[in-house]
């Protein structure tokens, strides 16, 4: 912890007024930045509480004259996303079915891979790791068409397992990176000692490394969950009727080509679709920083 708020080099009289002024300045600055970050959320929230009439006539950035939750209700269970007008609700479950297994599998694989790369340094491990890391950088638009072909050949095109598969594959780079950077900080002697004691690969992983991994698991889960939940490109390309995730439904609500735009419903739907990730950040944000602290510095 770097506590520089009380520099001990100053004389007392200076620090009394200076400190308070500095403190104030600090809070004002932090507050201003908070406004910058909150502004879009404010616009979305206020718009979602207005009536369409008020949006048409009034300023777009102002508090609602009359607060109404109708738009939220419509977005959740009444907005049309095609010929069905059941809002986001039916699609939410698809997203859960996709995100939860994909996050779990890619995290587990990342942990195993990271464990191997960081602790069992065989010849070529570095090259393998960097080749995998490079996978993080491939633009997803590039992989759509060949991936579609392969999914078709594997017989999982348009299915939820297919989507899980795609998300796991393109999550591997980052999850391996996270765990590798974390496990690299654990002394290799630990593994060596365990092997001398006769413990096998999985035994060491399971009883020694995994219990130490909570912070980095949190980081990886947050990262992966955010990526997968918010994904639109894979969701729209590799789904079919009945397996479309919530981002596709949101897009269907928001993107009307030649119809009347209901901005209040759009905004409410947008916030609802983002709630799970928001919640994850709010609840687990603290562990996020802790996990990064543990994992990133020696990377």
């Amino acid at each position: 912890m770097t506590d520089l708020s009380m520099p001990q080099t100053r004389t007392r009289s200076q620090s009394a007024t200076g400190k308070i002024a500095l403190r104030w300045l600090l809070y004002v600055l932090l507050g201003l930045f908070a406004l910058y970050y909150l502004m879009p959320l404010f616009v979305m929230l206020t718009t979602s509480l207005k009536s369409l009439e008020e949006i048409r006539t009034g300023s777009l950035i102002s508090l609602p004259r009359e607060v109404s939750l109708d738009a939220w209700k419509t977005a959740w269970s009444g907005a049309c996303t095609g010929i069905q007008c059941e809002g986001l609700r039916p699609y939410f479950w698809n997203s859960v079915l996709i995100a939860v297994p994909a996050v779990a599998i890619s995290t587990l694989l990342g942990a195993l891979n990271g464990f191997v790369v960081a602790q069992w340094r065989f010849k070529g491990a570095n090259i393998i790791f960097s080749l995998m890391l490079f996978g993080c950088f491939i633009p997803f638009q590039v992989v759509l068409l060949p991936m579609a072909r392969l999914l078709g050949m594997m017989g999982i095109a348009g299915t939820i397992p297919g989507l899980i598969f795609v998300h796991v594959i393109y999550g591997l780079g980052f999850t391996t990176l996270f765990f590798r950077n974390y496990y690299v900080t654990i002394p290799a002697e630990l593994t060596k000692a365990a092997r001398v004691d006769g413990a096998g690969f999985f035994r060491i992983f399971w009883s020694i490394f995994l219990p130490l991994s909570l912070p980095i698991i949190v980081v990886t889960v947050i990262w992966q969950f955010t990526q997968i939940w918010n994904d639109f490109l894979f969701g729209v390309s590799f789904s079919q009727a009945g397996t479309q995730p919530v981002t596709v439904a949101l897009n269907n609500i928001v993107n009307s080509t030649t119809g009347v735009k209901e901005y209040n419903v759009d905004m409410a739907a947008a916030i609802i679709a983002g709630l799970p990730t928001l919640l994850v950040y709010v609840v687990a944000g603290k562990y996020f920083i802790r996990g990064l602290t543990a994992g990133s510095v020696k990377g």
């Binding site: 912890m1 770097t2 506590d3 520089l4 520099p7 001990q8 600055l29 932090l30 908070a34 970050y37 879009p40 959320l41 616009v43 979305m44 300023s59 777009l60 950035i61 195993l112 891979n113 790369v117 069992w120 491990a125 393998i128 080749l131 995998m132 490079f134 996978g135 993080c136 950088f137 491939i138 633009p139 638009q141 590039v142 992989v143 068409l145 060949p146 991936m147 594959i169 591997l172 391996t176 690299v184 096998g200 690969f201 639109f232 947008a270 916030i271 679709a273 983002g274 990730t277 928001l278 950040y281 709010v282 944000g285 996020f288 920083i289 602290t293 543990a294 990133s296 510095v297 990377g299």
Partner: protein, 290 residues
Amino acid sequence: MSEWLENHLPKVVLAPSFIAVLIFVYGFIGWTAWVSLTRSKLLPKYEIKGFIQYDRLFDSPRWDTAINNLYVFGALFIVIAMVLGLLLAILLDQKIRVEGAIRTIYLYPMALSMIVTGTAWKWILNPGLGIEAMVQGWGFPNFKFDWLVNPDYAIYTIVIAAIWQSSGFVMALFLAGLRSVDGEIIKAAQVDGIPTWRIYTAIIIPSMAPIFLSAFIVLAHLAIKSFDLVIALTGGGPGYATDLPATYMYAMAFSRGDIGQAAASAMIMMLVVFAIVVPYLYSELRAKND
């Protein structure tokens, strides 16, 4: 047999992931390279026709704009997001009372996809609806903030929104770095009477070098992949003034049925990625071998 397995188990564990990456990353890059040499239109064709797609690409004024925008956008976005992230992390590290809440506020944009926040940003930045109208309404009729609708400045609004989305994450990285700097060294420096700013510039920041690299990589990858952002905020406009390589490629591949052209632009993008990532990997691996 079981001894062999025991010895090779780590490789066996790693193998499926590695093979998957070989196929689904490098195989697909190879596929794209192949298609970029064909005249594929609506669907991929595999008959090689030479470098015509690259000729077309370099003849296209729109691609010029897209590549220039990538440089401008990428440089500004990476530098500002890093500086801002570091600044916020230092400010937040001063034993702030409501740190948890403020941190969450800075971090939440990363949780929302740009499909969601794009419309809000569009309104805020629109001169007739957003900040300009608001400030003018406060009694400053000469206030101007019309970057969004100005072809020469619109790319900077993309930078503003991109920084909004990612700087909180960078802040988290740096905050984590600050928290793991050895407190004893700092205390010693304070006792020695070294001024605060010197402690930061001479001790703390240099010790966070790996984080700068991680942040750079995360930001570079976001900059190159930036897509939703542009689509939601400007749709590439005014004109095509805010087009980026990713949006160019998508437009060619999916709205214009010009897959060969899209593959060529993808290959150039991959080259840019390669030029950025390989030096990083090199330094990363060298550091590890020390």
